[in-house]
Symmetry: C2
Subunit: 362 residues, 2 copies
């Protein structure tokens, strides 16, 4: 078993990859804490202390160890660490899919904050094979991860029980509707929609079309409510014909807009519940031979990257997606430290980003 050629410290130039006869395990050359201890002439507990930045290590010793670590290229084995210490430095991320800028932005925030905290990210997508969900969450709980993040979960009730029972730390991202009793971060959808609608009204629009998101999601409901509230507050009627139900996908923006534009008294502005649908709206408007914003104003929600790249640049309600990811991680990390801390539910503010897709009606 010792026939493996130990891959020597590949410092100096002479890297003779001996391509070991390799019968044994294909483990990469692994330098363990023991090797470092030997190299530095200390016990391996001391090395552990140095690695973990514990107190009670003479500065001198610390340096000696550090050098040995560098010299040997030692990197701690996470698995062992986790097994011994009870913490894996991994958090699980449960997502439906990853193809959208929306998800991309959130994940990017998550990832960023996680790496700052030296945590790793284990990704799980929901459309996975029908693995028994229970087993699945259990795996996570069973030491694979220290905490769990759920983005836009469709019916989290399934896991949440298990999670709560085992007091496993988790945070929901962009999900409302489960009361205050779950840790979650989202954004002020109602406020955002209200502000956007108000903006349109103040621009002079009186007939404002609205395309909803998937109404089983709290975010979609809140946006619709914000739209209605603004109308009411400005003594404008809520015309059901102007409200089209969508589910956050582009084709519905297109078809919704077609419907709206075919109305006898067509709207002068269309507010879509997310940017992607707004893009669909823009297409439809153009296909009808109308100009944006001269003939029709278009407004979106989210402010994904693309929003500023389409023509004309889309006026939209910015939701701080990256920030949401970041914050969720912060909250999760706190909960990992202390699972008993009171449940927090944060809603980040939204901002109306005015670009060029809206103008007063002509």
């Amino acid at each position: 078993m010792k026939k493996r050629m130990v891959q020597a410290n590949s410092n100096g130039g002479s890297a003779h990859s001996q391509s070991a006869p390799a019968g044994g395990p294909q483990l990469p050359s692994s330098v363990t804490i023991m090797d470092v201890a030997r190299e530095a002439g200390v016990s391996y507990a001391t090395v552990s202390r140095v690695v973990n930045n514990k107190e009670y290590v003479k500065q001198d010793t610390r340096e000696k160890v550090m050098q040995a670590i560098t010299r040997l290229g030692y990197v701690a084995n996470q698995q062992a660490r986790s097994l011994a210490g009870g913490k894996s430095y991994v958090v699980g991320l449960l997502v439906r899919d990853l193809g959208s800028s929306y998800m991309g932005a959130i994940v990017s925030g998550v990832d960023d904050e996680l790496s700052t905290a030296q945590y790793n990210l284990m990704l799980y997508t929901t459309h996975r094979r029908k693995t028994n969900e229970r087993i699945y969450v259990n795996t996570l709980i069973q030491g694979m991860a220290d905490g769990l993040l759920l983005i836009l979960p469709r019916n989290p009730e399934a896991y949440l029980d298990t999670l709560n029972q085992s007091r496993f730390p988790y945070v929901l991202i962009d999900h409302q509707g489960l009361g205050d009793q779950v840790p979650a971060v989202g954004s002020k959808n109602w406020d955002g929609a209200y502000a956007a609608t108000k903006y349109l009204i103040e621009l002079g629009h009186r007939r404002i079309g609205f395309i909803t998101g998937a109404l089983e999601l709290g975010a979609a409901i809140d946006r619709l409510a914000g739209y209605k509230a603004a109308l009411i507050d400005h003594q404008l009627p809520i015309d059901p014909a102007l409200i089209i139900e969508g589910t956050f996908f582009q084709p519905e923006g297109y078809s919704g807009a077609r419907t709206l534009l075919n109305l006898e008294q067509r709207p002068t502005a269309i507010f879509a519940s997310n940017d992607v649908m707004a893009f669909g709206v823009m297409e439809a408007v153009r296909d009808c031979g109308l100009r944006i914003p001269a003939d029709i104003s278009v407004l979106g929600f989210d402010d994904i990257d693309q929003a500023s790249h389409v023509y004309p640049p889309l006026t939209t309600v910015r939701q701080p997606m990256q920030e949401m990811g970041r914050l969720a991680v912060k909250m999760l990390l706190e909960r990992i430290k202390d699972p008993d801390r009171p449940v927090e539910r944060v809603e980040l503010p939204t901002t109306l980003i005015i670009r060029q897709s809206c103008q007063p009606p002509t």
Copy 2:
């Protein structure tokens, strides 16, 4: 300070969690292999055999154990398993960003295949803090993962050396340009571009605008080459004025198309090196008051979801992204099994998907 109440195993029955005096780590109620062994009345080695589907277990015993497992809700602790067995059942995925359908599709394929193989996915994005990349890859190598997947890596040379030296299994996705000596999966970009251009030519187009991708990427180079080759093969001139350099982002599709449309002799068709840029082209065409495909034909590359959802639905070259992800995982898993197997480099075929954005010139 240790007054925390230990949450006892909440299974029915008599699970006497010996409630270790240690009020220690707040690990969720964990059923270990020992508990199962006790419950089933066998040694824990036997339980291990059952769990790992090893031979030499009487059918009878196996069932007894299985039942105990179900009853207790046992799930193996991956960390321990990994530490003892030398395999982590985790593969790392190195990505630049996740906001695009393109990435989404590949990751979805990866994820799918991985879950079939009972593997977990550790996600790393490249825009992460400037963690020393060496340490970084080393962490992976050091037992965190059994293999590594790199999607569209920009300059993988940095890691590749380390990876190769430690004979750590990896596969590149959608990257060419490092010779045959690296395991990789991509697609036939040249073929796809050739076929698309040929299609346009056969439709009757003689002046075909082309917007390139980021030319430091092999895929972009190959697509351009395919376009040129088709032109040449059909005795058509290569007009530099018709070739606009882009980098795969939408705004370049827009601006590129504007440039093209302003040409004295403007093209009758525009072929963008990816769908996203094609969308930009579509916007520009419409903004110029022209119709697709009546006035200008537009053609893309990739066939991301959105391509079939825009209006008119985009004719494009389909690249089997999910399949690429899948295949990469298969190759990686093989290499994990046997790191010495010969290096493979696979290019999946592309398909021209004809929708409604092209027609003969009028």
